[in-house]
Symmetry: C2
Subunit: 120 residues, 2 copies
């Protein structure tokens, strides 16, 4: 496993009270129906605590920085998979800026350093 | 190690162009000068990619959910340590809502599930 792509299935998106299925569930369905990059596991999750910035996804993997992105929709599925492939291929999860899709450059909500000894 | 408390030392806080030291560095200094909860390691980090929501911190630990909080300042150091102690004591990192300090209830930017097999 080189990366986990977590997708919030309860995200409401920019609409306060969307009809079912929720935008987050639709984003998950779009990703589940696509060809995942090698080594990537797609996981649904109920709430990434970024509700004001939904739809949201998170990328994590052992030994890598984790990332959370927001303000997404099912229309972003292809770009999400492109960015996820680059993340999965990066040893530490740090993808050069120019190789990130625009949504990953502009819609980062947060990143978290990897576990393990502190890097100097 | 039961939890890592990451503090963004480059966070500018709500001011576009603050004087040095930056608010993030001041928050880190306040935490570094306090008694850390048992099993908690304080780590400075340059940028948690939550720049519009600084000052920001992140909590992570093996096998636990990770959390990112924002809109903090050095004045929140005591509450941050209270919340960090509760996080460190929770096996999965999930602290009951009523036991979280107000800043952790209201200023969550995101959370990320733990690594490991998917939970049903």
């Amino acid at each position: 496993m080189r990366a986990i792509l977590h997708v919030c299935t309860t995200c409401r998106g920019p609409v306060p009270d969307p009809v079912e299925p929720r935008p987050g569930a639709m984003l998950h369905a779009a990703l589940a129906g696509a060809a995942l990059p090698e080594g990537v596991e797609l996981r649904p999750v109920e709430c990434l605590s970024a509700c004001s910035q939904g739809c949201s996804i998170a990328l994590s993997a052992p030994g890598k920085w984790s990332y959370v992105y927001g303000r997404l929709s099912a229309a972003d599925a292809a770009d999400i998979l492109t960015g996820t492939a680059a993340y999965a291929a990066a040893a530490d999860g740090l993808v050069p800026w120019r190789e990130r899709p625009t949504i990953f450059r502009r819609q980062s909500l947060a990143r978290i350093p990897p576990l393990g000894p502190q890097q100097e």
